[in-house]
Symmetry: C2
């Protein structure tokens, strides 16, 4: 089963702020279409039930829902179960009086778990609690899935810890925004970061971004699906259009092809003797 080919999908879509019912309904239409094309793993953007640009904590609080008992979670859980697929979807989560920028992971047999964004970006820090569920890896008959969200991509530690736990497919719900200094003639820096990380860790990546402008914040689309070599196998998608990327991949290659030659396997070649000594020294705290 592990060696089988697997079709995966990145749903690039534009949620409308605060219109949760409509957003979730649209996402389900897109999930159904992807499943009809054979997708067994589908990734939706970050916070795609509510939109992103909260103006206050109370506004975020009102739109947030418990996971998995809330209405959005239940709809996605039912959809994944009905279609027999794995779904990773960004959701505004409320847990008691805490808010999280989360992803729900749900499969053919129902709810599997939650990832809570570890590294909050910008004003998110005003509304959300930093992720407190670590970096889980989910075992499925298709392979081992992990996920992280948007700014988490900028932390090579996250990719490493996922790969070192055996993850083969990294699902990235994201809301990438323009980066100052981006040369529009070149690949988006977010794509460069993803490609380099996939390559250096020998993992597949499905990154689903949103599009559109929300309360004056533009989003950059350019979702992509990357193989364990670091090269895109689908996308980058356009900057502004809703579209679903579909790719047929073989997750076993993430680990089977990780021996790059007779000597080198990038995760085993890590010089932990050096890193651990330096990281433990505490000296570096003076400089960062």
């Amino acid at each position: 089963m592990l060696e089988a080919e697997l079709i995966v999908a990145a749903v690039q879509m534009e949620p409308l702020f605060g219109q949760t019912e409509e957003n979730v309904a649209k996402s389900i239409e897109k999930i159904e279409k992807a499943a009809k094309q054979g997708a067994r793993v589908v990734v939706l953007p970050e916070l795609c039930n509510t939109g992103y640009m909260f103006q206050s904590r109370s506004e975020a609080f009102e739109l947030a829902e418990p996971v998995p008992s809330g209405a959005t979670s239940q709809l996605w859980i039912e959809t994944a179960s009905r279609l027999g697929i794995y779904l990773v979807a960004g959701i505004t989560e409320r847990d008691g009086s805490k808010l999280f920028n989360s992803a729900i992971i749900t499969g053919p047999d129902g709810y599997m778990g939650t990832y809570r964004k570890l590294h909050l970006w910008g004003d998110e820090a005003l509304y959300f609690h930093p992720g407190d569920l670590g970096i889980p890896v989910f075992d499925t008959p298709l392979g081992r899935l992990a996920c992280h969200i948007c700014y988490d991509c900028w932390f090579p530690e996250v990719w490493r810890l996922q790969a070192m736990q055996g993850a083969e497919l990294i699902c990235v719900p994201t809301n990438w925004v323009p980066i100052p200094g981006q040369d529009p003639a070149r690949e988006a820096m977010a794509n460069i970061v993803v490609m380099g990380a996939a390559h250096c860790n020998s993992v597949f990546v499905v990154a689903a971004n949103r599009t559109g402008m929300e309360r004056e914040q533009p989003f950059i689309g350019q979702s992509l699906i990357v193989s364990q070599t670091g090269w895109p196998v689908a996308g980058p998608a356009s900057v502004s259009e809703e579209e679903t990327l579909i790719a047929c991949i073989n997750l076993a290659e993430a680990r089977r092809k990780r021996n790059w030659n007779d000597f080198n396997q990038p995760l085993r070649d890590r010089r932990t003797d050096i890193y651990d000594e330096m990281l433990g020294s505490g000296l570096s705290r003076h400089w960062i």
Copy 2:
């Protein structure tokens, strides 16, 4: 002084195997030309005194030299001192009966130190000893320099530990070779890895690759100089031509512009609470 503009150079050249005297003489011509254009920091490729493709340990042993007492080191030390520049140059080093794939770092006031490649690539493991000098950072009046060599680029831990020690400029002597799966229409994966790492760590990078074919091994050129944004400020150079890239940069920006907004500074945003717990658990060893 730290805020001053600084001209840096990446010397892309083709050493001829085993012709140390000629290679070093050529490198010095190129260093002199770069210095005439105002360069204060010059980076040469990996193993550029001897060439790369050793066929046996004894062959490597014969070509290797002590650092800094050997003839090659002394010539480079004299050159940097005479020109009042900082030079980072790849050298085949012998220390007693150990061989290292090293870089000498030397400045206006003479020899400053040695970096020994931590992560050996392919057959290098047959000839060289893995680096045993850690990841040093060199303080200069121009800013803080660190270096690593070729395959070291593939280890985000190295970039992180340099940046966390306050390094602003990462000098990379390299001998990049073709990577299977490279789409020739796209940026070299080595360049993508460097750009992503510069961006995620907010450091400048001067990467000097070699060109040419040696004992059936092609090298890919495409040296580049990247700003702390991750975008090239010079290069990538051609695949096959000798050329020297020159760029005027401001090293202070590596740290002054590391606050990306009111909340985020990528090195301070690291979730060491999560990483340390997971790295310390040892669980991951089963999977990599």
